[in-house]
Amino acid sequence: MTGPRWAMTVDTRLCVACKACVLACKAENAVPDGFCRDWLVEETRGEFPELHAQNRSERCNHCSEPPCVDACPTGASHVAGGGAVLVTHDKCTGCKACIAACPYDARYVHPGGWVDKCTFCLHRAQRGDQPACVSVCPTYCLDFGDLGDPDSVVSHKLRERRFKVLHPETGCGPNVYFLE
């Protein structure tokens, strides 16, 4: 298999939790009011005044072993090019099995009757653009690219920086990496 292996990195040291990514995503993808495909998590650990904070822009992890795709009874959830996990609206019955299957709670039922989620803005990636969240981010904390390409920004960052993924114990192989 050749072709890209899409991944995203989030530099938690730079993220200021401004939510520009969330709103840019909503605008780009016409996400209906009251829903979001990406979101901010602000974690504070410790007790005053010994505090440590981490800000994370989170979204679907486009897992390498996506449990949502396994749970889908109709094939609507599938792994598309570059490993992105997508939902084909016309095949989706809205049975919500994938929602229950996702350990990251990244999916929601679109009012149109299908289950919706982050697409890695594959429609933009296809024409060489960055996802909306990445291209808007005023702190340059988001990067998107091909893990298969050793020269891509994401490959570089993962080589150079300490990182974690969310809940690796689920064994899903998430593809959004949080640089620390």
């Binding site: 530099d11 939510k19 969330v22 005053f48 981490q54 449990p67 808007v136 702190t139 340059y140 689920t170």
Partner: protein, 736 residues
Amino acid sequence: MAYTRREFIRIAGAGAGAAAVGSGLASRWWGADGDPVPDPGTDGDRVVPSFCELCFWKCGILCHVKDGRVTKIVGNPKHPLSRGRLCPRGTGGTGLLYDPDRLKKPLLRVNGRGGQSFREVEWPEALDRVADGLKALRDKHGPEALALYTHGYGGSWFKHLLRAYGSANVAAPSYAQCRGPREAGFRLTFGQGVGSPENTDMENARCITLLGSHLGENMHNTQVQDFALALSRGAGLVVVDPRFSVAAGKADHWLPIKPGTDLALLLAWIHVILAEGLYDHEYVEKYAVGLDKLREHVADKTPEWAYAATTLPPEKIVETARFLAGARPASLVHPGRHVTWYGDDTQRTRAVAILNALLGSWGRRGGFFLPAQLPLPKYPYTHYGTEPKPPADVAKGHNYPFADETIASGVCEASIPGTADYDIKGWLVYGTNLMLALPEPEKTKQAIQALDFIAVVDVLPAEITGWADVVLPESTYLERCDELDAPPWRVPFAAVRQPVVEPMYDSKPGWWIAREIAHRVGLADYFPWKDSVEYAMQRAHAAGLDCDVMKRDGVVVGAPAAITIEDGVEPAFDTPSGKIELYSQALADAGFDPLPEFTPPEEPPPGMFRLLFGRSPVHTFGRTTNNRFLSQVMSSNELWLNRRAADELGLADGEQVVVVNQDEVRSEPLALRATQRIRSDCVYLVHGYGHDAPGLRFARGRGANDTRLVTRTKIDPLMGGTGMNVNFVRVERRQP
């Protein structure tokens, strides 16, 4: 182990029956079910470049228009202030454009002010009413009795109108209620303010020091970009803030200072830097005056002296002083933006300026660059008539000698008869919601009731429109053209605002409104152009800029200029001595401390907390809290209270509470955020919530309005800024 069963099912399934029926295969038999990559189709068939007005930074934007609707707004990569990126608000312009609560028709008041009853009229009637008001005012009280409040880029037309009319009372709350003191403080020291956008070269700084500035929560696009770039290059960060702000979360040193004692810390830092000889000897020698007096002045301002005031351990003060001095001259002590805190703000920002001078950062790479600007000739107007009377922004017998803009709160007070040298009798309010912008709103109401006339130009039915005699609905920034924007910056550039879509409803652009009023009050000569596009292009043309490129790209960027001493620019200081004034003779002459002196602020009484407020990255004060798009990620403010303090009050995180100030003013209910992230002697909330204007159907009743709690201020004697962090509150559980 979690997934073993899934694997099991997979294997079992593969064996059992499913032999040939590959998962995709089965459905493919039925055709018409490929898996296309979904395209939301929000790319416009037309993309119009412009610049943003959700805040006042004026980033370049590209507006996608599809079938006559703006589908999305993205950053303009060619614009030096956005570099293709936007803050959260920038994306939310559509939320303003398509806000169902927008003012749709001109309105005339039906009965008493504040009574909120209006009738819709056509434009000619409304404009005639304004013109009648202005003419009567001029005849009865003279033109200087008219004041203009403005905040926003469309205000330029009205400023022009006012000058032509003959009044100098043009005020913006952004001066005396926000960044005024630092302009005065830096002007006194370096002969020049920092302006907006600030001339801070954060991107190249090796150490950034923030005092109460919550960058990241206070979201000015380029500034935050530079901040992040500096951090990604390993710049050190010192954050002085009673709250563990987002920036504090990234700091090498967070100093949870006792509110109101920053000046003590600054003086102690200066003490250490001088005592240990850590300052830039050459730079100070060459550019500054008054080092000896400064040295003498801070001799007893030891870290231990500051310890008692700030509660910051002296070891920490010494350590941070060395830390930030170690990075000089690329060590930037940020001047802040909203700095009207305790009434000693000019002196405090002067201490910031002095510290920067000792670090040699002014004019240096990684410090304060010396900005470049495109020369943009003024439109060739007829000369304004006689010089108007000076503004009446100071109470009788008072004087703020170092104010260099009009004091908005002073103009408001001057409207209460007999308080100032002459009375203000009429207001034009352009795009500024004075009810939330000026402290002591009760005083504002009193002033309005004493006016002969008040007209408001706005996009939304904000609180202030409820007090107007005439409400004129303006088009949003996406529907109009405005003045060109060519601020002093790292690179010289000029940007244009272009209408993206036709004005919705019966709204009109500001230039049109100002021009129509001018025509009706006999000032047509000052508005000779047909429309603002003609006006803007004439100026661009006169500057030798390519108008077609400007319309196509939204911006014309000039040649890069030298902006630092390293680049070869020699800084000039517009001070009496022509040098950096560590010691200010001007201050001494005016009877003020020539060197900053720290006086401890009043302490909150037992059981009360100091009320602090700040900003959210998704909102611009109260302007955007009705924006339904932006509000999806923050629809209300919450009260930050130290977790231990909350525990002792028996209040739980998320609980609805009411804040009551020292004058028994009660806030609207809001949710409590019991958090470790703030000291226990203060509370914090984001400014701009708690609207009660009935027309703001979304924002109304969400969160609490901090302005109402600011029932007292401490005036900066140097420039008239209203120190607002001098209010104390207690926190109560909301009664059901």
